[in-house]
Symmetry: C2
Subunit: 455 residues, 2 copies
């Protein structure tokens, strides 16, 4: 039975919803920068007020070893399933700040989009789930049991969440999980995500002299740590785009022919993707299509590099040290903890004796695959079909949500992975945005999903 009143309520309240979303988006809850700890707490408290206002109980900002998690529960549907709604309230840093058209924490509507850091990843998505439940609670009623788990560490790899979930295993017990930190390929093509890449993130340091040297006085007689780091990075891919860390591909899951055929059937255009990425030409590992490269193959990227003098003008310095942030995206069944040793082994084999080097592990999470045949997945399919008018596709996602593997191993539940980010939403980039027509469809889909999951 269609929850028509709740859907109408959500439509009638769009203006107020948007005003409230702007409040959340205005909070600079950047998890990786320690000076934003007060903002992290403000965002968490803002969410508890929203959730408590719907009549949820035991609403609290629960401490973890790192940033706190928001919890709340609505357990008034005996005999009905319990669904855990997951999202995160932390956001990525905003640099380079000068590339933002409007400031990242001054949410601004332009055309069909609202621009702000976190608008799509993930504040807008978790907000849509909250507002779907508000619409139900004010009309047909919330038809099943719901728990919220909204964390503040997703953008730094959820370092505290495995311990937190184990500690609160009973409190978080559920029949299914809705992971809202997801997207769809385009506004008219709904999707469910059945695989996520893992992540292993490092800093690689190369050291030469104890301090910067004069490049004229010493240049030509000692190794240049910046140049050595460049050589080491250049060697991490071969000419075909394969990654050369020893043993890196040993456990990589091979795509079946059926899976490759299914991926090939997805409506996807290399040229459209090139335009979305805004690059002169696509690139990638030989022997795979773009969609396979994005979801089913591991990657290694330089996320940042810094050495020597990078200010205005010239400084003729031979840098003392050089640092690169290097991360790998992993696929099933790679061991995220093994990558650190593979990287160390690569450096042992290839770093010259003219420098010293060090690998610092920042964070890691394994890749995951989730079940596609659960009752909650069927409820999601129906909700997406009803809202978008077409059935969803199943897709592999290139990004990482660190907590999903913990859901599987500790709670024993495979999440339904359904959110409404779009590929051009600029997550992690300047001018992040949320496409409002898609956001409104997201709220309606969630209303229909909770309704269908209760049946």
């Amino acid at each position: 039975m269609e929850p028509t009143k709740a859907i109408q309520y959500a439509r009638d309240n769009r203006e107020r919803y948007l005003a409230e979303l702007k409040e959340l988006l205005a909070i600079p809850s950047i998890s990786t920068l320690s000076q934003h700890k007060p903002d992290i707490l403000r965002a968490a408290e803002w969410l508890t007020k929203q959730i408590a206002a719907m009549g949820f109980q035991n609403v609290a900002v629960l401490p973890t070893a790192g940033h706190p998690a928001v919890y709340g529960e609505y357990l008034r549907a005996p005999g009905k399933p319990t669904i855990l709604v997951y999202g995160h309230y932390d956001v990525q840093p905003v640099d380079p700040l000068n590339e933002w058209t409007t400031p990242p924490f001054e949410p601004t509507v332009r055309g069909e989009n609202i621009f702000a850091r976190g608008a799509s990843d993930n504040k807008g998505q978790i907000f849509a789930a909250i507002k779907a439940l508000e619409a139900l609670s004010k009309n047909e009623g919330v038809p099943l049991n719901v728990k919220f788990l909204i964390e503040g560490e997703e953008e730094i790899g959820s370092p505290s969440m495995a311990a937190f979930i184990a500690q609160h295993k009973d409190k978080l017990k559920c029949d299914s999980i809705l992971n809202t930190d997801m997207g769809i390929p385009s506004p008219d093509l709904p999707a469910l995500t059945y695989g996520l890449r893992g992540l292993a993130y490092f800093e690689v340091w190369v050291y030469g002299s104890a301090q910067d040297l004069h490049s004229g006085v010493f240049g030509g007689s000692v190794a240049n740590p910046a140049a050595v780091l460049c050589e080491l990075i250049a060697g991490m891919h071969d000419a075909d785009g394969h990654i050369t860390l020893p043993g890196f591909y040993d456990k990589v899951r091979k795509l079946s022919d059926e899976e490759r055929a299914e991926i090939a059937r997805l409506p996807f255009s290399d040229d459209d993707w090139r335009k979305t990425a805004n690059v002169p030409r696509l690139d990638g590992e030989k022997g795979f299509t773009t969609l396979e490269r994005l979801g089913a193959r591991p990657t290694l990227e330089v996320n940042g590099i810094l050495s020597g003098f990078t200010g205005e003008g010239s400084k003729t310095v031979l840098p003392a040290k050089a640092m690169a942030k290097i991360s790998t995206r992993l696929v099933p069944y790679q061991d995220d903890n093994a990558v650190e040793e593979q990287l160390n082994e690569y450096l042992r084999r290839h770093a010259p004796p003219t420098v010293r080097w060090q690998v610092k592990k920042i964070v890691s999470a394994p890749a995951v695959l989730v079940k596609r045949d659960t009752p909650a997945v069927r409820a999601a399919i129906n909700a997406l079909q009803a809202t978008f008018g077409v059935p969803p596709v199943f897709k592999l996602e290139g990004g990482t949500v660190g907590v999903v593997s913990t859901f599987q191993t500790v709670l024993g539940v495979d999440p339904v992975q359904m959110g409404f980010g779009l590929p051009d939403d600029n997550f992690h980039s300047p001018n992040e945005k949320l496409h409002l027509p898609t956001h409104y469809r997201g709220i309606e889909t969630y209303i229909r999903f909770f309704d269908a999951a209760a049946q």
Copy 2:
């Protein structure tokens, strides 16, 4: 006839000299950073007061297209030669600031050294020449004609000096030039420098997307500008340490067997040099000794590199662009203006079509060789022998002093290149210092040099 009174005067006034030097060192006259323009002017004006106080005439801060130059003249020795004393009052930037034991513009004596940015390069040296002339002026008298040219652009490659010297060609007319921006191999081994490497300094930019991308969403499907830049830099040297820019070595002057034998006779220890550089192991172009690599062979160095996220923690970004500061040190008879085209040609051949790129030229200066058989060189040899007790060696210097080639081409004079910096003075690095016993010998050498040059 030994100028004994002047030498004694310099010894008696060491304490006052040091106090005055501290005033000059306290001025942060960093030429490459535009916010320091007022400090540049302050340093120039401080020098005019010192020079005017010795009875010099026409003392002025003369404008150039960039930072001004200090001029002053003492023309009261008719029939005697005129010597132009050259130095610079600008200094290098100070980053990384946290590696300085005491702040770079709070001159501090520790042991036998005074620590400050510019202490050795070049404020301490030009100050020694001024104080040598003060000592003469108060005692035996200045025995020849002297002009000062102290510029404020040496550390940025003297971009305005060629035009300035051409404009003031008559004013700067002289019989010989003393270039104080030089050093000696060790406190007990005096030297004259007969060759300087040239410099060609660039920024290389590699561009991918118009903005940073999410490394999970786009990673594996597009080129990474930071990784591409690393590959391009890695390819700029071959396995033997030769530079691969097309045509780079075409005009490189070959060392004669006699010159190689002379270099080999210099008192130089690879192990001592390794300790001075403070590196695990020396490195360099195959087929050449360390001293040949330093003075007689061109080099290519990464002076800085920057891309993506380099802050605290992790940000899973695929950078939009990457930049490296890359400079080459040139030897006779390389054309410094040709290097830009060689670098562009290298990038045309090797940059992949998945990125766009750009080369920005920052500054360049040719390599120079100076005559070793002039009357002024003979006066310098005698002064060094008298002060240090051993004759000077002739050396090739790895650094660059952009204005020297203009002295040759516009004024038609080859400078005597004599200064008293030491290899471990940390020019361009944190904790730059001046070795005071060597500095005092430098003042006495300059007194004897002016005296001998007047004969």
